[in-house]
Amino acid sequence: MLAYIIRRVAQSILVLFVVGLVAFSMFRFVGDPIDNMLGQERTQSDVERLRTELGLDQPFPVQYYRFLEQAVQGNFGLSYRQGRPVSEILLERLPATLELATVSGILALVGGIGLGIFTAIRRRGTAANVIMTLSLVGVSLPTFLIGILLIYVFSVELGWLPSFGRGEVTWIGGWSTGFLTESGLKALILPAITLGLYQMTLIMRLVRTEMLEVLRMDYVRFARARGIKERAINFRHALKNTLVPVITITGLQLGSIIAFAIITETVFQWPGVGLLFINAIQFVDIPVMAAYLMLISVMFVGINLIVDMLYFAIDPRLRVDRTAGGH
């Protein structure tokens, strides 16, 4: 187990290096930050002074080395746009994204599993068929469009929910939360649905398929023959066995909820790290872009690691040393 973890951690660090390298080699194609930092009346010497000041006149390997050197000390530099430490800005914006992702994740998980079970048990019912058809919409419509549709219906037409922003937030230590105010909770609803809808339909379809599979198994039939209540069969025996693949997918999707939050955050002007990243691209704010990409890759790598270890815990078969197997 320990050797396995060490190996995985080493691999993870390598992945981070590569992500940094690829990201950095791409920044030069994103554009030139100088144009955004100086006005139209600037002179060539202003441009050169700023370029030297920012170290942008250095060759790419030097820039990457400098970034790494500082990043391992936890210093991601200063944002070109805001002139503040990037780590400070990220920490300020992270709660918004994490709260949104958590709510969407819970929504996706609860809704997905619930509807999945329902459509599997009542698979010939009208309601189940309607849900299955609607879920196609959730899978196929782009997030952007869903967000705009929801805004149009619930903010513009009905006027029930806010169309943008996070409402009023409360600061608890360094964490800003929207959970404690009415406007904060209201502001969460539309973005959370937008962000979670795809994941919810995905989980629902997965649970349904797995469940149908399991319900056909012999042990379920024997259980039925023994006269065990339908409820117990469905929820105690069948559901448990459908959950292993669900955990994998959910784990991986958790990462993508945070990563895909970029689009949802842009549509709803949600003040999280995704919106920060989009702004950073527009402004060619290289330190922010670099830090965000590193953050996201650390998260993905971390989640994968945890999922792998959960497998280890859940599935005893994996604990057998693979190299010892003779067949």
Partner: protein
Amino acid sequence: MRLPLALVAVAALTAPAAAEPFRWAGQTDPNTMDPHAGNSAPVLGFLNNVYEGLVRRNQDMEIEPALATSWEPLEDGPGWRFTLREGVTFHDGAEFTAEDVVFSYERASSAEADTASWFSGVTEVTAPDDYTVVMRTEAPNPIFPDSIANWMMMDKGWSEANDVTRPNIERGNYATINTNGTGAFMVTEREPGLRTVLEPHEGWWGEADHNVTQGIFTPIENSATAVAALLSGEVDMINPVPVQDAQRIDQAEGVQLLRGIEARVMMFGFSQDKETLLASDEENPFQDPRVRQAVGHAINVPAILQTTMRGAAEPAAQLVSPAMRGYSDSLSERPAFDPERARALLAEAGYEEGFSFQLKCPNDRYINDESVCQAAVAMLAQVGLDAQLEAMPVRNYWPELRADNYDMYLLGWSPGTFDAEHPFRFLVHTPQENIGTWNFGGYSNPRVDELIPMVQAEIDEEARQGMLDEIAGIVQEDAVYLPLYVQPLLWGAAENVELTQREDNFFILRWVTVN
């Protein structure tokens, strides 16, 4: 429009007693609160509410007294004497005196500032007494007061106490987030990229004719979201309204569409100093003025305005709009749409068969920029010119232009001084270190280069206009640029809001009345 009941309830819960704040949204958050660290419309436009200059522009863009009550040319050499307003205080209570002006000059003209070019001809700034400032210039400069309307005054004492005697564009400092101006509003809350709250400055010297008790600015990048926020009543004003949504806002209940004309003129530029074309490596036809004129006759600007701008913009014949100072009234006719004439001119220049070239356009900088270019491509094809359009985000666009990677390109120019001389200085003068810095095409005309410094130093209005007319005539004759139209200003606001749309696209909060 239906009343968002829930929202009203929430607002009532969270904002006790005080009148409703005025909430507005724009596309870009000002990236700094330091008036000398940013020379862009989002920064200067926002800070005009917080800081003030010696002079300011009124609703019609005319110069009027602000922190200076009067000014006159010096008797003993070129330059100006400003008499300062007495009894002006900064937001922190400190008094505004001549010392602050001298300090603000040193700060704004330093190498670290983004505003240094405004003071390129200034040699010395002194304060003979507390309420007089003398600014000496190398040569007479009749429009000097006009050119410093956005030069904002900072308090010397505050700046020294907070260690911000110089702006810092790349690292930021205390003044990047905190402000201390003399303006009608003070910043009470600043969360970069999220929201900025303004409240009236009680000790303001002027008479407040607005009724705003609190102003909240939120940047909303996505224009569809901004429109939804306006329609649902969550914001009272948005700038800009996307052209395609203009009609909808015009017709929706409870909101109004405000149309105006921006000072920005959109134009096509041409590569003129390169020997060969980028697209084909053949000889560069744009070196020949007849070819550039042919492009002018091939593009049907009224049709473009009708389709891509939905009739919201005015055609332009010069590098500035007619509202600018120094506009040449005699040259207000733009090349007529005449494909036959375009073909004839091309034939005359030896290009009967037409040619292929590369057209570069930004796709996120100006209103419907890419669609305008697409329309132009189709029109150019009618006269045998095969334009290969390459559209890109503006962050890639300027580097491409600087690297000479284009044959023809789209440019918008808003003259910072609201004077016809401004675009000549930046776009037409032969490119050099401090002048002609945006003349990507490399046009060079000794007569123009000779005239521009003369214009800058001419005190006599009539003689000055004569020289501006001559330059404008040369620019039109040589088809150095092909002016297309003046970019429209489209704002949306709640029906009960009265405001002023100024031509520089600045939103001035003290001209807002909420009924």
